[in-house]
Every structure is written in C-alpha cells, then in structure tokens.
Amino acid sequence: MAIPDTLEFDDIQGLVIRGYGALPAACYLLLKIRDLRRARPWLRELTGQISYASHRPDEQAVNLAVTYHGLTNLRIEQTILERFSDEFRSGMTTPHKRRILGDEGDNAPEQWLWGGPNTTQVDLLLMCFGQDTVTLNTLCHQLRDGMTDHGLAQIARLDTEPLPDFKEHFGFRDSIGQPYIAEFDLWDRPHPNPVPLGEFLLGYPNGYGRFTQRPLVEPGQDQHNLLAADPEGSDQHDLGLNGTYLVFRQLDQDVPGFWHAMKHQAEATDHERADPVRIAAKLVGRWPSGTALVQSPTRDDPSVIDKDDFRYHRSDQEGLKCPLGAHIRRTHPRDSLPPEPGSEKSVAFSNRHRLLRRGRVYGTPFDDSLDPARFLDDLDREEAPVARGLHFICLNGNIGRQFEFVQHTWANNPNFNGLYQDPDPLVGARQAYGLPQQQFTIQQRPARCKLQDLPAFVQTRGGGYFFLPSRRALTFLFSPPANGRRPRTRKGATP
C-alpha cells in the first residue's frame, strides 16, 4: 500500500498538481465527437501535446478530460464503463442530483448554457492556458482547426478573465484554502495535516487508507499493455491510476445584487456597525484581502502572511469571529465538527471531504479595482445584467464523498452544524424541503444577529462530471479496439 517514492509525474496531467498561476489566460473548449474513426488518431496525437505534471510550462498548457457520454462515444466496452464511479456515470442532472446540488428553479439544467438536457451532450473538455491572450488564442485556433478536420466539433468555448490579486467577482481574494498533498510538494515543507494522495488521485491509498473505486480492466482488454498494473495487486490493469475526477460548474455571480443585499442588511441591523463590507466578510469568513476572520476578527489586516494557517475550535468555538455558517467554515470546517471538535480526529474527518480547486473567473469585473468600497459607490452603474462569475472546477477521487458531500451536506444543508434555516450564504440553495431557506446567523453576544431574506447571489449555468485520465489512460482510451476488445455492445440504454 506504500506510495512509490517518486510519483510518475509524466503520467499525471499537470492540472492535478498546479493551477497554472503563471499562465493567466485560459479558456475551456467543450467538444463533441462526430466521427470516431477520424477523431481517434488526432486525439492520440494530442496526448503528446498535453501538459503533464513533470514539466512546468511557462508559455502554454493543455489538459483534457472526458465525460461518461464521451467514453461511450469512444466506444469503450460496457464492462469497463461500469467500473467508473456511480456519480460520474449518473452525471449531474438526475432528479436526485438536482435536488442535492441545488439545481432547481432558476438553477435548473433546462436553462443551462451547456451540460443540460437541452444542449448538445459534451464528450470532451479541453482546458487551454496561455501566458497571454495572444498565445492562448493561437493555441485555441490551432487546436480548433485540427479538430474540425478530424471528426470533432466545438460545442462552446468558455472564456475566462483573470482578475488582479486572485480576486473573485464579489471582491474577495480566492485560491487560498487548498488541501496540502505532501507528494506534490517539491520543497517538502513540514505540514501538520497532509491529505492522503488517494483523495485526489486514483490508485493510491485514500483517507481511509484504502483504494477508491476505480476502473480496472481485464488483461485481455488491454492486450498491448498500455496501462499499468493494478497497484492493489490484482492481475487487472488500472485505467484509473494517476487519473481523477473533475467537477465543473459554471456559476454566474450577481455582483450588484450581492452588494445591494449587503448594504440593505447593514441598514437593517444596528449590530454590525452598519458596514456592508463587514457583513460580507462574515458571509465569506475572510476579509477582501483574504485574511481569515479567525485571524483578524475586527478589521481587515492584509499583512497576515499565511492566510491558511488557522483552526476554528480553540480560537472561535462559538463562531463569534467567523460565523458557523460562513462559506469557508462550512466548505472546509477544519477542526470545528464532530467527532471531538478541536482534535486531530476532527481534522481527519474534514480532510476526507476536501476539494482541489482549479477554477477560473469569467466576465468583466464590476469595477476594475475590485474594491468593494468602489463597488458600493455606485451599485446601479450597469443598465443590464452582465454575465460574470466563476468557472468552478475541482478535482477529487470520490465525487460522492467529496464534491457532492461538500455541496449538499455542508453548503446547501440549512441545518448544517446545528443551524436551522441557514444555507451557505454565497452558494447554498435558497429552497429546501419545500421551504425558503434564506437566513444567515452571525453569532455574537449577548444574542445572535440574524440576516433575513437573503436572495440567491449565484446561479448555476452549466456543469458536468468529467474523468481526467492519466497519460497512459488517454492512450488507451484513444486507441482502436485491440483484437480482444470487441466493439461496444449496446445492451439497452446506458443508465
């Protein structure tokens, strides 16, 4: 069960270990396979162009992920398809998934720009990164020309817009809290709570010290030995090894709506000294600079160096600094939940529900400064709503226990951590069990202050579950069926 001393970094797609911070320009191409016979050779060639973790690109990078629909269109055998995880196979839009992910009403997949029932089914996701827009556009054009000649069609191109200082559109610094994975750390810094590699990469021990469900294939299905042996020791070959699952959600953000609400709440409550930014910070759990409320409870202190170096239980058990329902306290509760809050057990529990976030922002900012004070100067400056938001992308080995759990059990759940009607104020669904769920509680003395009637600030506009294969797996998926690999037999509809 031991992890090999050195990972095969040239087998792992680069996005797993880095977010390509040095390549600020990025876009996502959603593709459909039109003609498999022509697409295969092109895709196989593409695997050579893809950026793997062994090399740190400084000009451009490409990564590739595939949906379950894509796998069926690649004519992967049914017996192999069935080995993929249930969540990946079901997709994001079953009636139950809509309910738990909050994709109902305005968020319903029927209205999505992509990934829903009314738009073309996505097969592949090409993620392109460049040091500047020119490089990116050249890369994308080159890819697009190649693919259209080779039986592939571009369904959509999702652009991104880098904002200064890693800010997201509401004006807060993002990309701070990330799981620490010792194997990815080239500097070997000591860290108190590393998350097991198997939580983010298939084929390695996970948070329970076991192997997460992953696609294994019979040796006969891989006659050219394109895949590595099963690290768990069976005679099967591991299609999952060094790959992982990628969750994509396109989330529109209503920036003027958000700050209007903050202003309104500040006027309605005398407790928080009538400051919209303060209230917004309570919702997020961090100040606009990214400093956590636990680190600096009364004012923003941008000088804090390690903004991820804190826990909740000892310093803020009651939520007086960072409210119990704040976005970062519920999407990564650290040591604040049972079993035994404050203990290593609690941290280990939280660490079995971590997400490696790799998303990017899209749309022009409400104000170039991204300074909430400037936003508030004139909230009505836009005549028509502007489409902007977050292409939320995260990687995880177990979509059910990680992404879906975080989104449902922690973010959407109005009863999270003893609360009653408080969904995640940023991303939580505003309706559950047929009742409106629109409160946010700010714990304070002598009694809490409750914000009422919080509207939704985020709307789901698209999404999907993807498999982010290893280099070997890509080669396997894009190879024509070997002798022993019969073309897919369709037994009724796929689930």
Binding site: H96, R210, E318, F405, T409, R448
Partner: protein, 454 residues
C-alpha cells in the same frame, strides 16, 4: 418444530411481552405489522400507496397528520425470501409512536378505518367487506404485529407533541429576538429575563415555563432496576460462561476467514431509483434487508448480539448520542431519530430500518467513521457483509465494499411520513434545551451559554 407450533409459540411470547410492557410501559414504542399480500392485488395496492405518498400528512386515504402521538411512519413492500421461490410479498407498516403500539392500532382503527380498508384490502386474511368492524380490523392488525429485536430511540420520553410545541417556541423566540431592539441590553442575564417575561406574558407560550412530561420517578426507578438486573445477568454470563464465550469468539474468528464477502456492485439504475425519493426533508428513511448467515451459530450470535444491543440502546444510549462512549474514545452519532432491527422468516432475514438526518452519503460516512464497530458486530452476521476481523474491526471501514453492500440490500419505502420535516435531531434537542433554560436561575456564564442556542 412444526410451523404451526412455532407460530403459536411466537404468539405466546409476543403476548407475554405485551403484557409485561403494559406493566412498565416505555414512553415510545415501535409498531411493526407484517401482512401477506395477495399477488393479484399488488398492482392496486402499489397505486393506493403511491397516492398516500403524494401527500403523506394530508392525503384522503390515510392522512397521517391526524395522529398527534405519531413520529415517523412508513409502508414498505417486501419480497418473500428466495427460498422457497413462491410469491411471498408482504406489506410492512411501521410507526414510531408515543404510548403503546396497541393503543396506536386502536387509534388507527378509529380514525382511518376506511383508509386501512383501502390499503389492506390487498392483504390475505383481511376481514371481507361485510365483516369489517372495529374489532375485526383491530384483531387483524394485532395478529400481524411482530416484534423488533432492538429498537433505538434518540431520546427516550420526548413526545411528538413536545417536539412540535418546542419548534413553535423556537420560532416564536426567533421572531421576538429579531424584532427586539437590543441596543441597550448588555448582559445575558438581562436579555434572558426579557425573554422569560415575553414567554410568560404570552398565553400561547406559557406552557413552555413548565417541564415537559417526563417519565415518573417510579418509572425511572424500575428502569434502573431493570438495567441493574440485566447488568448482573450479563456479569454472571461473563463470569461463568467466559470459557464458552472465548471458544465462541474463536470459532467466529475462524469463520471470518471463510465467510463469503460480496465483491459485486449494485446496478446503477437500481441506486438511482432508490435515490429518487430521498432528500426531500431534513431527514430520510432507510430500509435494508438481508439474509442472516446460515447455521445456528450465526443465528444465535445475531439473536444474542441484538439482545445485548437492545439492553444497551434502551439503558445507555438513550440521550441522543448513539454509541458514544467518550472514556473509550468512541464517537457517537447524533443524527439518528429512531432505528430498529427486526428478524424475519424464522431468523433467516434481518430488516433494518431507521430515520436519519442528512443524505445517505452522510449517513454512510457516519457509519464508517464513527460506529463501524457497532455495525460490524451486528451486520457481520449477514451474508456477504464486508469481511470483519475479530467481529469489530474492518467490515464497514472498507468504505467502498460497505457502500456497495448497503446498496445491494437497501429497499424502497412506498410511503414515508415525517411530522417535522425541517428539523434534525440536533435541532430538536436544542429546542428542548431552550425550553428548559426558561426555568430556574442562571449566572451570567450560564445565561450566555443558553443564549447561544438561539
């Protein structure tokens, strides 16, 4: 023993149990009625159940909200055992009620007789139309009532009425606090007395200033005596029987190497069908049925462990923290409202049902992370359960195998009713603590801690 005789013995034992329970009744009880279904009437039955499930509290057939003493209720259709492979589908009705199960049967016969007829018309032996009287219906339901071997109650003695009332109290206090101009209120004690004043000045809430109906002192004394007797009995068994128990344990340990472990996964279409009715409230109903490993050793083992579990659930884990034993470093689960284990078909099958907070994923995570040892003890007697070591280790800790095992055994509830769909067990306990805090004196720190609950 011939089937008839065994059936008779069972009825006698059940009768004795009911009689004993009426001398020292539990405040809440589990009612399970299992009735054979006539094959040709199953489709109609399914339709009636679907109609009920459209709106469990207020449907025209069986509006569950008329029962003020009812917590959760469900109907499920259970296929017969694989062997003999004949049509053996049964309809199971389950309810968690305040007061005795027989009282609840009487209540059903009185309040929803017509609805009962519509449902039970599909059941073998139900009185024919002409012969349907209160007495004949009641007799039928009583005759088909079966015992559960273990029953977990989140908090013994907390009635459905109390839960609803305290929910109202909580909501009223929330509005009061939100409207209150708190600018000049500095201390917690000050604020607390303002709240108490509000409650006592409000005739609709003043009940909250009294304690909820708790089991009497005598009842609790008898309960303690019962526990002491069981402990003594357990001590004697250990003292005299330890060599046998040791051999028993070693034999089971041996079996652990050879017992079959399921390695297949449930069909995705089946899982999605199960998920389709889940997560419509703050809590969910769970139901799963499986075969007990064959042979008297395993069956006796299952019986013995369920009996031990029953004693522990009733006397130790009766305050909202299932299986939490801090001194042993065991973490409890505070998300389960009720759970029960029911042996069926001459101990060949075990039916497990519960009402738990959150999604199935979070429920399984609780099982795996916190109470795997307890689940292992009982469910390792089930065919195909993930392999355990020394009865408590591994098993449920094998995350994927365990989740697959549950998926292979979970069954659908055709009808499920909850009277308080927006509340978790933690909310319910908090509401009670809020009510209790309205009484008595508190220093500043205590008042502060109490206000945190609001």
């Amino acid at each position: 023993m011939p089937e008839g005789q065994r059936e008779f013995m069972k009825r006698v034992i059940h009768g004795v149990k009911v009689a004993l329970a009426s001398l020292h009744p539990m405040p809440q009880n589990a009612l399970t009625i299992r009735m054979p279904v006539v094959a040709s009437r199953e489709p109609t039955l399914r339709q009636v159940l679907a109609d009920i499930n459209d709106d469990p509290p207020d449907n025209p057939v069986m509006p569950f909200s008329v029962f003020s003493q009812l917590h959760f209720a469900r109907f499920l259709l259970l296929d017969g055992p694989n062997d003999p492979e004949t049509y053996g589908t049964t309809l199971i009705f389950m309810a968690n009620v305040d007061g005795s199960a027989t009282q609840f049967i009487d209540e059903m016969v009185q309040q929803v007789a017509h609805g009962l007829d519509q449902v039970l018309n599909a059941c073998r032996g139900y009185p024919p139309r002409r012969k349907r009287t209160r007495a004949s219906r009641r007799a039928y339901l009583r005759r088909h009532t079966i015992d559960s071997q273990a029953f977990y109650i989140n908090t013994v003695g907390r009635s459905a009425r109390q839960i609803r009332q305290e929910d109202e109290l909580h909501q009223a206090l929330q509005s009061f606090l939100s409207d209150l101009d708190a600018a000049n209120i500095v201390t917690a004690q000050e604020l607390r007395s303002i709240i108490i004043e509000y409650v006592s000045g409000n005739p609709e809430l003043s009940w909250a200033l009294t304690s909820p109906n708790r089991p009497s002192l005598i009842w609790r004394a008898v309960e303690d005596l019962r526990f002491a007797t069981l402990m003594a009995l357990g001590g004697l068994i250990l003292f005299w029987g330890w060599p046998i128990l040791l051999v028993w344990l070693l034999v089971l340990r041996g079996r652990e190497f050879s017992d079959e472990e399921y390695t297949h996964r449930p069909a995705l279409s089946r899982l999605n069908q199960l998920r389709a009715t889940e997560d419509i409230a703050a809590h969910n109903p769970f139901a799963a049925v499986g075969y007990v490993k064959p042979g008297w050793l395993r069956r006796t083992n299952a019986r013995a462990l369920l009996a031990a579990a029953q004693a522990t659930l009733r006397h130790v884990f009766n305050k909202g923290d299932l299986a939490g034993v801090p001194v042993l470093g065991l973490d409890g689960v505070d998300t389960i409202h009720f759970a029960r284990w029911t042996l069926l078909d001459n101990d060949r099958r075990l039916l497990f049902t519960s009402n738990y907070d959150g999604s199935l994923e979070s429920y399984m995570v609780d099982f795996i992370d916190k109470v795997a040892w307890g689940l292992n003890l009982i469910f390792s007697n089930g065919v195909g359960y993930p392999r355990t070591r020394w009865l408590v280790h591994e098993g449920a800790r094998k995350e994927q195998r365990f989740k697959d095992y549950l998926g292979l055994h979970q069954i659908e509830n055709q009808v499920w009713f909850t009277p308080y769909p927006h509340l978790t067990a933690v909310n319910i306990a908090n509401n009670e603590a809020i009510r209790e805090g309205l009484q008595g004196g508190m220093d500043e720190a205590q008042a502060q801690a109490w206000l945190r609950r609001l």
